[in-house]
């Protein structure tokens, strides 16, 4: 008798409580749209085509994730400094925005396993004499505010104790300032540097050297407590690599060669 009442009570409790525990994964599937924050001044990861529609590696990645979930993808453009606030303010569900998995950020948002890894390069104005990355010492350098490379570069400038660091609000302004000669050098991902130099949009730029940083592993991000969704994204990334889609996207957007290795030897995730 007692057990029956208990069982009914339990069923009622779980029944009543169940909708309240619907997590973001359910919300996305229920709403039929996946809203991705993508940075669109960051070719080849994100940019706009001649009709100003979003294109790029991250855009395709978001579309693939939406397709896997069986929903429509909605691309929401954000700047680098704005992508985490956009997530926190529930303006987007996930950010497919080349977000470096720093421990500081992990205090606020939840990261998936890495879906891409960047190496960083030093890009300089042709008018500036530079042979190695250390020649940036004492120069005016800049990067996009809030990015992995900006934080690294600002620390370097502080350690050197000379020169000036300028954080611009977006990647385009950095390259604009660089080609105008307002900046002597910047640090950006090799992919972005090559795409911008090759585009011919910014005359007078050249890639000087690789920046001596640990490869910049980037993950998909969502809210910290959305384990269901994070789990799903982990498996999704694994499947992208397994099925060869990762290599396919790499060839489409980045070019020839071996796509970056997403595993770190000697340690579990």
């Amino acid at each position: 008798m007692k057990t029956t009442i208990f069982a009914i009570g339990l069923m009622a409790a779980t029944g009543a409580a169940a909708p309240a525990f619907a997590d973001k994964l359910d919300d996305i599937i229920g709403s039929g749209t996946l809203r991705c924050a993508v940075v669109l001044d960051f070719p080849p990861m994100g940019s706009r085509d001649a009709d100003n529609n979003p294109i790029g590696f991250d855009v395709d990645y978001c579309n693939d994730l939406a397709a896997a979930l069986g929903v429509e993808a909605e691309i929401v453009e954000t700047t680098f400094p704005e992508r985490i606030p956009a997530l926190m303010s529930n303006r987007v569900d996930v950010a497919v925005a080349s977000t470096s998995d720093t421990l500081e950020r992990a205090k606020t948002v939840g990261f998936s396993i890495p879906y891409y890894a960047f190496e960083n390069a030093v890009v300089a104005n042709e008018g500036v004499e530079m042979a190695t990355w250390e020649d940036m010492k004492g120069k005016t350098v800049g990067a996009t505010a809030g990015t992995y490379e900006a934080i690294w570069l600002e620390e370097q400038v502080t350690t050197w104790g000379e020169g000036e660091f300028r954080p611009y609000q977006n990647q385009a302004d950095v390259f604009l300032a660089l080609s105008q000669g307002q900046l002597d050098a910047t640090v950006s991902t090799v992919e972005v540097a090559e795409a911008n130099v090759a585009s011919g949009n910014f005359p007078g730029l050249r890639i000087v050297d690789k920046a001596p940083m640990v490869p910049d592993y980037v993950g998909l991000i969502t809210l910290r407590e959305e384990y269901g969704l994070i789990n799903y994204m982990d498996l999704f990334i694994n499947q992208q690599v397994r099925t060869g889609r990762y290599a396919e996207l790499y060839a489409k957007w980045v070019g020839e060669g071996e796509p970056a290795d997403l595993t770190i030897p000697g340690v579990y995730r």
Partner: protein, 221 residues
């Protein structure tokens, strides 16, 4: 469903840096006002000079400053001049951008103030043997500054608020720049900007109150 955890302690740790930023903000605003007032005087004299070219220059300046967004003006100073090879640091770009805006608005205020000063005063000053410059300097200008003291105070408040636009030209030492830099690292958006808002409020209130006290002393007769 979303439970926000405030982390005020973490944000308050940054208070010293933000207060340093507030000093820079005040410095930029004050300098931009000084420059703005000087240029506005020159523009006002251009308009009074009777020369077509000079008054056209003044009118163009005033109308562009008043009819386009300040954000646009600051961006143009940095990247617009930059494409002509004139490179200004973020600090200078912001300062010049705000000074440009200030000058436009203040010149218009001065013009309004001049309307309140009868022509007869200048004429009597001239007939007392003063040169045109002297009569402007000793008769018209003091009255003009007095009439436009309140609009000048308002412009100072706007100058303080406009410093927040410096981030578009990579300014990172003023109050807004420091705050958004901290935000990019820690993402405590609400806490950090709430503190910045309080600091801005205190600054603007202090400025308006001291302007009121100053006015009471200067114009008591």
């Amino acid at each position: 469903m979303f439970n926000y955890n405030f982390r005020w302690a973490q944000a308050l740790d940054s208070l010293p840096r933000m207060l340093e930023g507030a000093l820079i903000t005040l410095e930029v605003a004050l300098l931009s006002m000084v420059i703005g007032i000087c240029i506005a005087m020159v523009l006002t004299m251009f308009r009074l000079s009777g020369s077509r070219i000079l008054s056209a220059i003044a009118t163009t300046w005033v109308e562009i400053a008043r009819n386009t967004p300040a954000l646009f003006q600051i961006y143009m100073v940095h990247f617009g001049l930059g494409s002509f090879g004139i490179h200004l640091s973020p600090y200078l770009s912001l300062l010049i951008g705000i000074a440009f805006n200030n000058a436009g608005y203040l010149a218009e205020n001065f013009r309004g103030a001049l309307k309140g000063i009868p022509d007869t005063q200048t004429r009597s000053a001239r007939s007392l043997g003063m040169t045109p410059v002297q009569s402007f300097r000793y008769v018209v200008m003091p009255q003009m500054l007095r009439i436009s003291f309140l609009p000048m105070t308002n412009q100072m408040v706007w100058a303080i608020l406009m410093t927040s636009l410096g981030t578009v030209v990579a300014m990172n030492t003023d109050l807004y720049g420091v705050t958004s830099d901290l935000n990019a690292r820690t993402f405590r958006t609400f806490e950090l900007f709430a503190i910045a808002a309080v600091i801005f409020y205190v600054i603007t209130k202090t400025v308006t109150l001291s302007a009121r006290l100053l006015a009471a002393r200067l114009f008591r007769y």
